[in-house]
């Protein structure tokens, strides 16, 4: 089977960058990573048809090897559509997460934390929230009204230092 070296390199780069991005904690980057990976995979499927050839419409005087294998393109189209839908859905989820919590990060699971605390496996140094704000949006949202207000960095740090379990529970229930 013949493969196109350029496509192969591009595919490798896309997958590598995609995997790097998906390991980030910011959801938008994860989304970008997923887009890159899905397109890298599409390129991979495209290449399985081998050497480029004539369009697969039967004509006289052509050997069966001269045609391009059309099946991978059919698979590819389906894969593109599915990936498109997934990305749209994920984008909606990320936006919703942003609207609700002003959070563009994968958040911890409160039950996990609670279990870790009860069995004494919680290490404050490792498991507590990092107080540095990675987002450029520095507003804090008031959970009751949904309005935003600006907070000073000092106040924010003191808030994020101790998001107690009760807080999280209330947030989950409301």
């Amino acid at each position: 089977m013949t493969v196109n070296l350029t496509l192969l390199v591009v595919m490798g780069a896309m997958l590598a960058i995609g995997i790097y991005l998906i390991l980030e904690r910011s959801l938008t980057r994860v989304l970008l990573g997923i887009i890159l990976i899905s397109n890298g995979v599409n390129l991979l499927i495209l290449q399985t048809s081998g050497r480029a050839g004539e369009s697969p419409i039967v004509r006289d005087g052509l050997d069966s090897g001269d045609y391009l294998d059309p099946l991978p393109q059919a698979l590819l189209l389906t894969a593109i559509v599915i990936a498109f839908a997934m990305v749209a859905l994920l984008l909606a989820l990320i936006y919703r997460s942003w609207v609700l919590a002003r959070q563009d990060e994968v958040t911890d699971d409160e039950e996990d934390r609670r279990v870790a605390t009860t069995i004494g496996a919680r290490d404050p140094e490792e498991d507590d929230d990092v107080s540095t704000e990675t987002s450029e949006f520095i507003d804090a949202v008031d959970p009751a009204t949904g309005t935003t207000r600006t907070v000073s960095p000092a106040e924010r740090n003191s808030e994020s230092d101790a998001p107690t379990i009760e807080d999280l529970h209330q947030a989950g229930e409301s």
Binding site: M1, I22, L27, V30, I34, I37, S38, V41, L44, I45, Q47, T48, D69, L71, P72, L75, T78, A79, I82, A85, M86, L89, L90, L93, I94, R96, S97, L100, A101, V106, T107, D109, E111, D112, V115, T118, I119, A171, G172, S174
Partner: protein, 584 residues
Amino acid sequence: MQFDVVDFVPLTVLIPFFGAAFAFAFYRNQGTQKAITIGALIITVILEIVLLSEVWHGGTHAVQLAGWPAPFGISMVIDRFAALMLVVSSIITLAVLLYAVGQGAAEERNDSGPVSIFYPTYLILVAGVSNAFLAGDLFNLYVGFEIFLTASYVLLTLGGGEARIRAGVTYVVVSILSSMLFLITIGLMYAATGTVNLADLAVKLAELDSGTQLMLHVMLLVAFGIKAAVFPLAFWLPDSYPTAPAPVTAVFAGLLTKVGIYAMIRTETLLFPGERINTVLMIVAALTMIVGILGALAQADIKRMLSFTLISHIGYLVFGLALSSVIGMAGTIYYVAHHITIQTTLFLVTGLIERRAGTANVDRLGGLARISPVLAVLFFLPAMNLAGIPPFSGFVGKLGIMQGGIAENTWITWTLVSASVLTTLLTLLAVSRIWARGFWRKAEDVENPERILLQKSQVHARAANKRLLPSAMVAPTALLVALSLAFTVFAGPLMNFSRAAAQDMYERTPYLEAVLGEDRVEGVREELVEFTTGYVVDLDTDDDGAAEFAPVRTSLQPDVESDERGSTSVDVEEQDDEAEGGGR
């Protein structure tokens, strides 16, 4: 032109799809939506039961969509295993749907959010699951996976509250990644063999060199392993499942991971049979069991605890699968059917507990056995069933798998058997802890009880029962409990059926003949039969106890070993007639 009932197999996918379309068209009218959804599912269940009875006697059948012959077109294949999975999954989804309808009726007042999407999405989930069970080629399997996964994303984040979105994002990202891995594998398989048809792949993959085979094999298993929640790849499950509404969690827990297991079983039997990575699978199975159940013991929330037992019991299925013997696989098939039912039932009961008591946290529960004896019975039976206490089906399934392990008789299978026993005991500990705390202890003894549990008198409690546990929700749950008990009553025929299904899958010729036609299979039949007798059926049967189970001669199957010419298909028919007479 004559039509066979079995040719209507694609309808099991199409009916839910059309139902979804119609239900969506009536989004303004909840009553019509419910009627359409329930109607579509009832028709599907009836059709699938008919199909099961056809396949029970007639064997594997393939339908070539649009009449294109097998390696080129899309085929849908129904064999005994697929038919059983279809029927069990549809009955479960129907029961859960009735439960959801009951819950919806009970909560009409505070109905908020775009609820009108629940019913269509639910039907799409059913269609996707059916499509995955019936898929005759790898890409169609991928499409089936994507259909039900997309539906599951919507169901999981229903209402769009903060906790659900948080859980949903993790779930979606992990699922998309596993799908990408699956897609990469499909691409590589196509590059290596030039086909995506499962039957065609089964023939062509054997011609590849063993390194390539191993790579494709492992990649497929990892992709399916994420979906099936096998130990190192199961981290997403307890995070995401418990946040969804009770009916949604129930149907997810019952079905979605089992589709992953189904795909793993197909991989192991049809595409890459043999014992190449069995040891690795067994280690993974043991870790899944132990780590899963230890996770369950650490939980106080019943839903999360059940999610962990779900992972843990996936380990049994992988164990049975890794044995590569008909007896092990038969146990697995039986156990899959049992586990779908039991896990769904338990999540539904937990939903009821949460409604009645206001919480599913065992630290705050108490006195439920006194307050609501019905609820106590509904919890007790499936819980004991999950733990595998003898009269119940969990015991039968575990016994089947362990017999397979003992029949194999190597140190690793003995380790696995001990791990299984240990896991069973720990499961019993986990569920009896819920029982003792939530049901047996007095509500007054609870440190910080829900106020609703402290009723002044039995009359008050009964009034609250009536209000909080409507019969429209209790009845479907009771139905599922009855179904799980039926697995015990009909364990004999079901086990025979599972063995026949396992035998079919390991022989591979019925599947290949149905899809590719006899001519194509004739060329490779010798190899296939040799492979089957050499690797799979030949068990060490010196031991008298195991001899009864280890050889795979049930009334439903041909005697492969003594058949030199390999004309197994003829034997199947003859034997089937006998079984028909004897079975009824």
